[in-house]
Subunit: 344 residues, 2 copies
Amino acid sequence: MNEFDFIESLRSQANSRKHSTRVLTGIGDDASIISQSPGRDLIVTTDLLIEGVDFHRNATPGALLGHKALAVSLSDVAAMGARPFWSFLAIGLSREEWSTTFKDEFYEGFFALADHFGVTLAGGDISESRQGIIIDSIVLGEVASGAAVKRSTARPGDQIYVTGTLGGAAAGLKLIELGARVSEPGAVATGPSERTDDDAIQTLLVRQLRPQPRVGWGIVLGEQQLASAMIDLSDGLSSDLNHLCKESNVGAVIDAAAIPLDEDVRHLCGRRALDPLALALHGGEDFELLFTVAPENVTRLPKKVDGAAICRIGEITDQMGSVKITEQNHVWDLRPGGFEHFPS
Amino acid sequence: MNEFDFIESLRSQANSRKHSTRVLTGIGDDASIISQSPGRDLIVTTDLLIEGVDFHRNATPGALLGHKALAVSLSDVAAMGARPFWSFLAIGLSREEWSTTFKDEFYEGFFALADHFGVTLAGGDISESRQGIIIDSIVLGEVASGAAVKRSTARPGDQIYVTGTLGGAAAGLKLIELGARVSEPGAVATGPSERTDDDAIQTLLVRQLRPQPRVGWGIVLGEQQLASAMIDLSDGLSSDLNHLCKESNVGAVIDAAAIPLDEDVRHLCGRRALDPLALALHGGEDFELLFTVAPENVTRLPKKVDGAAICRIGEITDQMGSVKITEQNHVWDLRPGGFEHFPS
């Protein structure tokens, strides 16, 4: 049984044992939706980050890990079209790590991002681990009643969009695995002079280690009821688009030429005759938003939010379960090729 | 810096950066209190359980671990005088463990307890761990606005009570460390025939592995506004009473003879000339409730809730920071002797 099958079986168990009619959406979306009061729904998400699996300690400065732990959960809240308010952190550290400066750097990075989005650290837990760093990041947010954007509500004819560019985080991970290291937390050359390979490498490392959750886009898309369905790109476009289509009982066709490739990925791949599209399709952790928009709402979409643009990459179809990608004159099946913890 | 000093520094950082006036209580209590709507406050708690630290895999059947993961968080919600509603589980498993029946047994034990208290599994996360089982258990509950019972509101003259009996869970842990194993999940001899050492050992193992959170007591004490302050006994009576007194800026004096010792601990200790009082004072994980009651409310206390009785063990004093225990004609300082992950 693979990870997604197991989650599916857990979901049906949880649904059959549901004691609270106030759980509007439980297992199976980016976050859970709980009916809170006549005017508001509560959004809850939790993300477990484990050393050696979700991050490599020697490639990850503490401050960047603190940033990322919060960022991944903010991204889930954004994918529901909600506004994040409160964070809880459960942290396991070995005795060795406890005596280093790691935890101070971690909270420094965490608080910088939390302050940026007005999120309050409201609680947590600290425990000892036998080995390695363990972080569970929990974020609670809110949305107007019924306005949360689910994965399951895309309709045929809806246009498919993504924020930002894709492939950068996966390229960053590959660079880390090849031994590249970030030169200084957050320091990235962005001057007008010619970009070198080193600049591109540093930018991609930061894309992997310091993802920018699309909190502003999430709020705009939710509050203005612009998105018909949404998911964040954590597993990878091919996997996450398949998740969204499966939940919505629809299909999709996207255009390879329309996918916004990360320019640094393009730069490095071009010099090495590699294919940046594969990273954009199957690489995970870009933490961009993938969302669908009904045709009548397309003109209402803002061009940019918080500096991030969007691209239209395709359209939802009524071909249930059929996710296709067109490339010049070819049409391919786009099968999930993204990240899975436990493949079958 | 020890664990509690670090939490204290984190608390002051979080408070100085508080963006939300709706966080009524953040770090520093059994759970956090968030103002939800004019009538209700939201209670949030998270507890991290790590294999090899918080439990021993070879002594802990999966179903009992599923029970305990939920029980420890339900106990925190009870300690706030609140009613639990929703649970979220973040779980890390090694690839090896993923292919065993562990996760099925775990959720079986979890759902049995969740169903008992009408708690709905509303979400979570699954991740791979490099080694061992990692569980973060998150429970959300609710309480009438302003009715949550904090640690910080005990007043001199208040009477101090505990639910149930103490020392059993710590004795169970010692037995596990000595090699004792539970004979069958949940199977405990309770017949009228003479209790043997084996019966006592099995009961104590279950006290450690399958704690009973005092959910009913928590709700009654909160809803009827009977408790002036409350904490659950997770670290141990000596530590947790000191926590409560410190937060409330008061002192306490308790009577050794009044402490409800676990009868099986007494039975086994008696035959080995050991002191059951030490386990009751400094042993952790009984998950009983320690609470204070204003003198005028003492007669309103029920005798039992859900079969669990309470004992009056002492009184709150105005001697800030002075926690004493009387034993016959002696008075001792009761210093925190309970569990700490990272002692200084």
